[in-house]
Symmetry: C2
Subunit: 513 residues, 2 copies
């Protein structure tokens, strides 16, 4: 069931000459403005690229994608509430524990992370401040069965660690604005600079890090302070990270250092007593830098931990006095399961007391129905059996089985005992508008049906309780801001030919009313 | 005869770890800030790079090179005088004619260019304004035989067309400043940000073009105006050009278009009567753009003219109402022969009436002695025979033979009849300070003895006489400014091992007193 093309005359058709002109300008602008990545090995062999002397343009769309102005506004407007929600969730361990323990049974990675948190908690935390650079991801929901309904945003996931693409998001909106301004798009198209806002993600995320750095205060024993970025070796998306470093240095005079988890034991130590995290750069081994903030751009998945040494490294960082972006408990709060539990009636409301606020947050959730014997559950059972076309059936326990889509739902339910139905939830499928675009990647083009995902960044610095009060509720929000957005555009899953599914790119919003 | 190392403890020695840290940071900063070129085919095959999706860092030095503060100041201080000198030379055809006619006998390219000028002159020029974006190139002269002499700059050549590397010059000074600021150089080295000024070449050259564009006025019949850049197809140094375009668009709201000489007949025409140059972009063939300024980044050498069609194209541009940067006569004024003639006593003084000004200009000339029977000539003959080690013997007629260096001079003079000696001039060899540095190119390193060449940019817009008055002296200087600098560093010619001669790079000045 594919929605009709939302903007049938978009993108504008180009002659071969127009396409070639647009492409040249896109390539040159991207490559000169650091809208770039290190080339994939499938594109440029390791031998040629190993010295890091090459860059290629980031995967981008040729055109900005039409995006509902009210949807962008809604996503931005709700971000500070989301920041607060997840900060409060992180700070409420009683609430979290039950879910994480259950999750740990089926997810070893979550279990291991939780152990790090509990170990450090047993010893006692020395840093009450936590930084979150979050990203809330949405798709536009525009149900085909109701052509008069206004488009709304529905949340896909909430990221509490390593939210990437902020800098490239700023750069790609500048790219599309530039192309519009210089006349690379046909002059009769709807692509005008005034409808392509520049995402402030790069300056805003850097500002978030700078605020944390400053809040840390000065180093002990006259040490200078810096931010330590935890990276994956061989990162291809390095320029997205570098821009934050440049912004921090140039605009905030904050130094940064990059380190991978395996290097943590060699290059860092904790000062006895204060547990200040001391970093000695390999290029200046006699220097002692005190780390104000540990910013994770790695460590978000199990593949980043090769063995116990890496877990020990993560534990060292968590034990330290440095502000963590994020702390382990905040990383755990980003589990999909938490998102699901928050969608249950009353959950969000526990954390956001103001009804206007909690209902605005709830308004961005996709509908989730229990399939138990409550009145809501009974109504949902009827939906699942009779009108399953816009739903997905998911097992309650993460890792407990596969999702069942649309028309497969009634048959599946009938194949299992009715007493097991309450182990599932019924989720509304998000129905994004059908769009067309061309994605360019490694210099190659793919045109066809695409789907966009909006990410809205947030930056929040908060203070947890100290000592016995840790984990018993957030104490103070020091800084809370919306921090720009990202539009990621990829090939539609059920697309025949054209852009392959998952062939992703960064994109700019072309605001439409 | 190699001078002793000028800064024996420079550049600082690096450990392997320090080098690798510096390199990574240099690569990433260059590639994200457009300090880049398209990779050479010797590095990346044409198949991989043909779609323009790759960039590599520009060839740069690892360290900024020590450069005398007073020499940079002198070069900058004299640039406006040089701008005026060459504008006045361009406007004085009586003076130029004799030299160019003589030059034309041995140089077909000069002859052909001069024919273009004469053809257009016969018809009459319709644009009194000319733009010069010049670059005066110097080497530091620091004679080894006089260790107490202050270093001075001596001119190598004066470029009146396609002066390149302005944007990369701005970017490389930003690069070295960044590396100094972030701590990529050893902290006990003399490399400090306050001694690495940023060259304003990029904004200043763009401003020069913008001033010309504005002075052109509005287009006829409601046409919008733009700058047309004449380019070589397949330009590898494209980002150096693109930055000017971005600066023009973003800071001055001036549109630019790129075109190669062979495309001129297809895409342009002259409006009848006004001879306004009308450009129709291939990507918008129904649009008529009036060209305010033709900016040549090609056409400077014979290899840019494949045949009569390209000469016809150049003629069309010269005939047009557009302001030329430069006009053909200004290009001719940049011949090496003109530089030589200007060095003769009284020549500069013909154009720059103020003695302070003309002597300041003359102060940057390398000493040139006639070998005729004048008293000066007789003294020079003695020098040539007895102390030839710091001289080069050059035939008066360009293209008339090879240069004779140093110790070969006495033997050569004795081998020819004394009556022929006046056909030669004796030029002082510039003795630059011996420096060491590392040049990085295509990701590969070459360390060793290097020599630096300073280029100082200038921008000047002037008005020639109209009608009968054309060529009889410049009428008015509309704008005249110094426009930043460039330091190019290459391997020393007689270097044993290390940096190969001509292995050039862009560099930043590290000011020393």
């Amino acid at each position: 069931m594919m929605a009709a093309e939302a903007y049938p005359s978009y993108p504008p058709e180009l002659s071969q000459t127009q396409l070639s002109y647009l492409l040249q300008n896109l390539m040159d602008y991207s490559l000169s403005h650091g809208l770039a990545v290190r080339p994939a090995e499938s594109f440029i062999s390791k031998e040629l690229s190993s010295n890091g002397a090459l860059a290629t343009h980031a995967p981008v769309t040729l055109f900005p994608s039409p995006f509902s102005r009210s949807c962008l506004e809604e996503g931005r407007a709700v971000q500070k509430d989301y920041n607060e929600l997840y900060a409060r969730v992180s700070g409420n361990e009683e609430w979290l524990e039950k879910i994480i323990v259950e999750l740990s049974e089926v997810d070893d990675f979550m279990a291991r992370l939780y152990k790090v948190h509990l170990d450090v908690k047993a010893e006692g935390f020395v840093q009450p401040l936590s930084l979150g650079l979050f990203r809330s991801d949405y798709m536009i929901h525009n149900p085909a069965e109701d052509p008069n309904a206004l488009p709304v945003i529905h949340q896909v996931e909430f990221n509490t660690i390593s939210s990437s693409f902020g800098a490239l998001s700023t750069r790609v909106s500048e790219l599309h604005r530039h192309l519009a301004r210089m006349g690379a798009y046909p002059s009769d198209s709807i692509i005008k600079t005034e409808n392509i806002p520049v995402s402030p993600a790069l300056p805003e995320l850097a500002k978030g890090l700078a605020v944390a750095h400053k809040a840390y205060g000065s180093g002990g024993e006259g040490r200078s302070t810096a931010i330590l970025i935890i990276i994956q070796p061989g990162e291809k998306n390095i320029f997205d990270q570098r821009w934050l470093e440049y912004e921090l240095l140039e605009r905030h005079s904050v130094q940064t250092y990059r380190i991978s988890l395996p290097d943590v034991p060699k290059l860092t130590k904790l000062a006895s007593g204060t547990r200040a995290l001391i970093y000695s750069p390999p290029q200046a081994p006699n220097t002692q830098i005190e780390v104000s903030t540990v910013y994770f751009r790695a460590g978000y998945g199990p593949e980043d931990y090769a063995g116990e040494d890496d877990w020990a490294a993560r534990t060292t960082l968590e034990r330290s006095k440095a502000i963590k972006c994020p702390s382990v408990i905040t990383q755990l709060a980003g589990a999909k399961k938490i998102q699901q539990v928050l969608a249950v009636d009353g959950a969000v409301e526990e954390f956001l007391a103001d009804r206007n606020v909690s209902s605005r947050v709830r308004g961005t959730f996709a509908a989730i129905h229990p399939l138990d014997q409550s009145p809501a559950g009974m109504a949902a059972r009827k939906l699942a059996l009779e009108k399953p076309d816009t739903y997905v059936l998911k097992p309650q326990r993460e890792g407990g089985g596969n999702n069942i889509y649309r028309g497969d739902i009634p048959g599946f339910l009938k194949s299992i005992p009715e007493s097991h139905w309450s182990g599932y939830i019924l989720m509304e499928l998000i129905q994004p508008p059908a769009l067309e675009n061309t994605i360019i990647r490694n210099g190659g083009l793919m045109s066809g049906g695409v789907v966009g995902e909006l990410g809205v960044y947030g930056a929040i610095l908060w203070k947890d309780g100290e000592g016995e009060e840790r984990g018993k509720g957030l104490k103070e929000i020091v800084m809370n801001s919306e921090a720009g957005w990202l539009l990621r555009t990829k090939g539609r899953q059920s697309n025949e030919g054209g852009v392959a599914a998952g062939f992703g790119s960064v994109d700019a919003v072309l605001l439409v009313d």
